[in-house]
């Protein structure tokens, strides 16, 4: 990270280490590659670029797991783990032949830099309020999670909120303490499956609003519908680059038709992370 000028760190979204290839830093305007002299270059073919060796990846995963791969078995089996501060590390490699199937012979690491952008959801909060069902839509690296975190902070300051943070990248809890500001009235459930977490939160914490990231499976939809039936409102993110793409997704259609979400927030994309392109009322559509 020392190679990244301070002025450019705010824009850095990913650091990618791929075995046998140059170490890449992802910015909204493209990739840059680390050179032996400690500078970044736009040219991947530059002979000066540092090539990532297999032992570097193994040592990196080992150190990131606190020299305890066994304590991260579950996450490594799923191909990711989260560092203190909410940095999500995606891992690829060969699945071991043990019953647990943890990864070994790592081939790539992807550090997704988490950051709090305070105020990025203020416009959404002002226009939708905390009584709306909000669906935040965007493509890869569009800042969906960042927007959801800020929205959670705003809603969690005015009503009872539950945050289902399956991968611990929104609240970045450490020892039960959220290291990101997610609101003073927010209860955080981390490490559990989204669908299980939603039902558990409804049963135990009586939230007025539930936040969850990246809804994707029919089980998620079932759990959301069940909780919505109990009068809970939802704010969630979903992968969709545009409103038209959103409406092609069955899970989104189902939840919108059921009236769970009243507003869709479309983000601009990876070129302008966390920036809102459009806030659309869904009541008319449904």
């Amino acid at each position: 990270m020392g190679a990244v000028p301070l002025s450019e760190r705010a824009m850095l979204s990913e650091v990618r280490l791929r075995c046998g290839r140059p170490a890449a830093f992802t910015y909204p305007d493209g990739n840059r590659y680390l050179t032996h002299s400690g500078h970044l270059t736009m040219c991947a073919g530059n002979t000066e670029c540092i090539t990532v060796k297999p032992e570097t990846l193994t040592a990196a995963v080992d150190a990131l797991c606190n020299y305890s791969v066994h304590s991260r078995s579950r996450e490594l089996r799923e191909g990711w783990f989260v560092l203190p501060g909410g940095v999500r590390v995606g891992v690829t490699g060969t699945s071991s032949e043990t019953a647990e199937g943890t990864l070994r012979d790592y081939s790539s690491l992807n550090f997704r830099i988490a950051r709090e952008v305070r105020g990025c959801a203020e416009e959404i909060f002002r226009r939708c309020g905390y009584r709306a069902g909000i669906l935040v839509c965007g493509g890869v690296n569009s800042g969906k999670t960042t927007v959801l975190r800020d929205l959670c902070r705003l809603c969690g300051s005015v009503c009872k909120t539950a945050l289902i943070d399956e991968r611990n990248e929104i609240a970045a809890c450490s020892g039960g303490l959220p290291t990101s500001d997610v609101g003073i009235m927010t209860d955080v459930l981390t490490g559990c499956k989204r669908s299980k977490g939603i039902l558990s939160a409804v049963r135990t914490m009586s939230p007025e609003m539930i936040f969850c990231d990246e809804i994707a499976t029919p089980k998620d939809a079932e759990a959301i519908l069940s909780a919505h039936g109990s009068g809970v409102r939802f704010a969630a993110t979903i992968h969709a680059g545009s409103f038209e793409e959103l409406m092609t997704r069955d899970i989104a259609r189902r939840l919108i038709d059921a009236g769970v979400f009243t507003h869709a927030v479309i983000l601009r994309g990876s070129g302008e992370p966390s920036a809102v392109s459009e806030i659309r009322r869904l009541g008319d559509y449904a």
């Binding site: 080992d62 150190a63 797991c65 606190n66 020299y67 305890s68 791969v69 066994h70 304590s71 078995s73 490594l76 089996r77 071991s96 043990t98 019953a99 647990e100 943890t102």
Partner: protein, 166 residues
């Protein structure tokens, strides 16, 4: 009178030397017991709590039954950037006066701890425990056979030397 005192001193010296040899054998048996306990603690910590190596170090240090393994005091309490836990384990273990087999076993444990998933760690610990079992049997036998012999021979030589002096 002086000769009798000298004879008594020789007898005591012989008994002391025999006792010291026997004590050393007993210590080896104690080290094996401690390593067995350490492996048990590690297995429980990994299986039940998913404890990382630093948490395991804390468990080892706070366990009263492991006091004979003084190198545990030299293990780090927290993750230190740029410092490999296994290197720190090697460093802590390097100055220890331990029998060769036990030293080897602890070195191997330090090299492999945290390198695999839970299942792998537990199988490795199981393998080390089996090996430790064999070492323990030989230490037990050595203590029960040679320990008694050292004590008897020590006293015997002391008495013989005493008689010669008298």
């Amino acid at each position: 009178m002086l000769r009798i005192l000298a004879a008594l001193m020789f007898t005591f010296a012989g008994a002391f030397a025999g006792g010291a040899f026997s004590f050393r054998l007993r210590e080896r048996r104690e080290v094996c017991r401690c390593i067995g306990l350490l492996l048990d603690e590690a297995a429980v910590g990994i299986r039940c709590r998913g404890a990382d190596v630093y948490e395991l170090s804390e468990i080892f240090r706070s366990s009263p039954g492991l006091s004979a393994l003084t190198f545990l005091e030299g293990l780090p309490e927290h993750y230190e950037p740029g410092r490999d836990f296994r290197g720190q384990w090697r460093e802590a273990l390097s100055g220890q006066q331990l029998p060769e087999d036990e030293f080897q076993l602890l070195s191997e444990f330090g090299e492999i701890i945290g390198k695999t998933d839970t299942e792998g760690q537990l199988s490795i610990i199981e393998g080390l425990k089996e090996r430790l079992g064999r070492i323990t049997v030989s230490r037990e036998e050595a203590y029960s056979q040679k320990g008694r012999m050292y004590r008897s021979v020590g006293v015997l030589f002391g008495v013989m030397a005493g008689i010669l002096v008298v």
